[in-house]
Symmetry: D2
Subunit: 346 residues, 4 copies
């Protein structure tokens, strides 16, 4: 299968290329960039010298249709809304990594993203590709909206407990922490080394655009509207997301062991979800460079609350890896195809 990567000079794009290099069924045949068309990709990314040979293509759906069967859009919010319909109409399958097609309600998108929403017809057509939760809906789709990095770590960690009714969904508090690569490759003082190194900061307090996406998934689990408190922090590291999540348990007799058992059963066939032993909690480096989402949890009898900790690599399971996992599901391949490598540690 031939693939094109649009937005290839960003971190999502270059991670797609790294991962697809190792995929047995896919060849990257077009590396696309509106800003750098015509220049060699390895000049932008010297680590791919002698690995990616060619020059970048312009954003031209007709041209790309001649070279590829599927296009990954690793483009910014607002750009994908414009590009996805053009590539779909050109006859390509589309996997969009931006937030433009995740929320089905344009008003919610506009309220949180502060931009105009995509066309409703395409919002309806895009399948929300949270693989371990809604993977069945992805099979056979030609247009998948890849979930956000925070929603992936967060909802994978909360879904079984909410679905089972074992925690009160409206008591959920989500404290998330991310490495700096999540902010992308665009220059900004908040990603400037001397500002970020040896520093920890909160940002978008109660205003992060991933909030409605998280609530959308949790509401589906709960069967009723859920509202959550969600805060994000920037950690001086390149990769990794951790969500530390707090909720009131609905039955104080349920133990840590009961919850672990629930989670193991819920995810029993899902290779990329690893539930940790009681008393141990995953660290972000334990999934570095891989498609795993690792989850640990603890019920505190003193307070009647559960603490759930979920980690991913934001560029893999939180972006490029899950996008490839979605391609595997679209094509009816094993979902782990090309993604079955171990984390890089240390």
């Amino acid at each position: 299968m031939r693939a094109a990567i649009v937005g290839s000079t960003g971190y999502g794009g270059v991670e797609l290329i790294r991962l697809l290099e190792a995929h047995p069924n896919v060849t990257v045949t077009s590396v696309v960039s509106s800003s750098s068309a015509g220049s060699y990709y390895s000049e932008t990314f010297p680590h791919l010298t002698e690995i990616v040979a060619g020059v970048m293509d312009d954003v031209d759906p007709a041209l790309i249709r001649g070279k590829a069967d599927v296009v990954f859009l690793a483009t910014p919010h607002g750009v994908s809304a414009q590009l996805a319909p053009r590539f779909l109409e050109a006859g390509l399958k589309v996997i969009d990594l931006s937030g433009d097609f995740r929320l089905k309600d344009p008003a919610a998108y506009e309220a949180w993203y502060k931009k105009g929403a995509a066309d409703q017809a395409y919002l309806d057509r895009a399948v929300f590709g949270m693989c371990e939760l809604f993977g069945d809906e992805v099979a056979g789709a030609d247009f998948v909206s890849n979930p956000g990095c925070f929603p992936t770590a967060t909802t994978l960690g909360l879904y079984p407990a909410v679905k089972a009714g074992w925690i009160d969904p409206n008591s959920i508090i989500i404290d998330s922490k991310t490495g700096v690569s999540g902010a992308g490759r665009g220059l900004n003082l908040s990603s400037h080394f001397s500002e970020v190194n040896e520093n920890l900061k909160a940002y978008k307090v109660n205003q992060h655009q991933h909030t409605p996406e998280i609530e959308m998934v949790l509401s589906r689990a709960a069967g009723r509207p859920v509202t959550t408190t969600f805060t994000t922090h920037l950690v001086p590291m390149t990769r990794g997301i951790m969500s530390t999540m707090y909720a009131a348990v609905t039955d104080r007799d349920r133990t840590t062991g009961d919850f672990l058992q629930l989670y193991r059963e819920f995810y029993q066939d899902r290779r990329f979800i690893r539930i940790r032993q009681a008393g141990t909690y995953p660290a972000t480096k334990e999934v570095y460079g891989s498609n795993y989402c690792d989850i640990g949890l603890n019920v505190d009898a003193r307070t009647g609350r559960i603490t759930i900790i979920s980690v991913i690599d934001n560029l893999v399971k939180g972006a490029a890896g899950q996008a490839i996992q979605n391609l595997n599901l679209m094509m009816g391949w094993d979902e782990t195809l090309g993604l079955g490598f171990a984390p890089v540690y240390p």
Copy 2:
């Protein structure tokens, strides 16, 4: 005034020496270490070459009484419990940086610290030195128990709202993050560079020994027993603590501005507490190397919850700096004496 530092080869001890070098009223006359007595301090800490000239003394209260008027105990939990009475009986003023004299209930100490508690008479005698909250009690004391790093950041951030009854104290969830120096200079795989760098991990989930200290202060604010959820995380940086705190507001009509006003008034004469503008939140580097505690907050009308963010340098306001501030209060000096320097940034 002449000061001795016991436990001088740890990070708390060496930070005391850095800060006291700049204190106009204090001279460090004895640098004490049980493990390194007789060797030059600057061999252990070459950054103090030509600044600290002498060799380390052994832990000998009589000897030290001849050289010093006050002793800072920067010793591990369990050690201070033994040493503090000996130094007090020798006639020295004592400021203890360990956790051994903070909790007045020996049973609570033993449950959380998994060690035998100090003698009740000395527990009763030690004044808990959270300067901005209970500083009045420190004046004239000869034995002060310096607060823990997490309790300092956390309770300074919560106290005004709990005291005013503006948040429900039993709804409080505290998500804390610390730099690695908080784990001390002792060797441990969890402080090994390659394990910590590019990594984020949670530890002591629902089991951190600072939990009862936090609850002790909040209970005092609330006027009734308070139970909280408290989780700590290790961040790949050397210095800094951030507590992100969540609670239900008791009156949904109160705004972010109302809370900021409450905090500004509560801390109006306290030089080391800085309340940030609405919409901005402190980062740990903004207090790096200094005795400040910076606080920002946001009320979310959607959820009826407040998010409060409080940062300190764990080695300064969370340890050595507050200890010196306590000395200033004990002696009736201006509490900022020797501590009025700007943070190191970037």
Copy 3:
């Protein structure tokens, strides 16, 4: 092919396991540790949960012979000297990652390593596996001594110029910098996070045990004894080695372009060596997690000196990756088998 990893709880061992997981011809059938035999490997390395299932074996050559065909010794200097003969006598192929069999002169080993040397018969039998320089000698061998991390980066960067007589070998100065994982997983204050982070230090100035190994290779290139100045520095990062090398050129008319051409021809069939364009120099992250060695250089007409910059990932090309490359060469497989993945960036 079945492989055993001895010293599996160190960083070299765990990297071998990561890489061999992806090797099409090799299965790791025994994970060996003298200190942790009988416990689950994934308890020591949770990132391998559900990837490596079993418990660790003890160091028992007869037992391991029943389970494996080749053994990788990722054991400390001094230990391999004892173990390698035992495994060889048991009929296993051996690839040793320590320094014990690299130097053929026991006196040199003892002078630089401050330990007793291995038995001369085994020193003679071990093939020094610097793949791109002496790979022909590895084919068919049953005992390979894998080169050191600094010698790999350094001699790959210097060999073509010395061999061609284009630089004066006795003018060579090597300034090397390494990430902290090179110091291993053993606890030491010099790998303690708070000591290393935001810090840069030189160590073993003019005393590093890799000096004679570098001189051994360069002497072979020059056809006469070569002495070099070699200094190592510890950089606050986990992975990566850079050697910045300086030498006097023998003919001041030769340009940067001439040298680049020489290097490209010398390494033209070697997939893992990438020579950079004039005016660009490799950074360590550009080979992160991969088996590449990237080289850039510049001739300065002002001074008549060349500056050569060579980078590797110390745990891959500098240890586990080159060890697998040596296995490939021993077995007559394509040397890139199982190693042809892209670097992880960013």
Copy 4:
């Protein structure tokens, strides 16, 4: 004394403000920025909340003359060349931190800086303020050109040996490493966190604009023109410079001890230079946040070369600290005034 800081939104400017806050004889009365005039300084730098109260002034020499006696120019190369004459003509003392007035030969400036040089009259008037080497020339001056960060670390480490004729000046090779703050606060992909973190790169190989400044000082020491090889590397840390320097000794009988004795005598009255014991070498963190320059060295009998290691904090001794030291010298004050604090460690 009243001081103005021009270029106050850069890292050099903000470090001047931090240090001058603690200076007993100086008050910062004007914080100047062409881009941010009229806005509050603490909005740009929240760590100075409640420390620096006012708004920034525009670059107006007449206005500033009314508020200040001395102006520090922490402005980029090319800008200082224009501004310094205007402030001098307005009657202010000027200390310039840029490279515009260091080289007395305009042709050399233009060759290395790729910009037009400052007016020759002002080049001649500016005193080059390398305090420990040429401090006598600074006394009474009204216009000082503050040295570059690399030249400070480097020439302080080489000067005594070159001056004494103990090393061959034309054999000198300088391998320098710097933290990222040296690149300033301006946005650039090469200071973008995800590009720099866990990475080490060389830059401006044989082309760094500090080369002629280093050669100027060494030529003065040698009494004849000296040419050196100089390479710079970017290290993933915020502060700190290390220069590792190599040279042939002129008499192979001289030992490490001889050189250490030479250095101790040369710098015997200079408080900010610390010469380390034989066998130990300074690390950058050992001068963090301070005005020290620490030096260690080793003579290698095998090669007839000396290795000299010199470290500074690039923002203090390499910029703001030395600028204040120069002010102290200009005014006839003790050169350590306001600078006598210990490094921040860890």
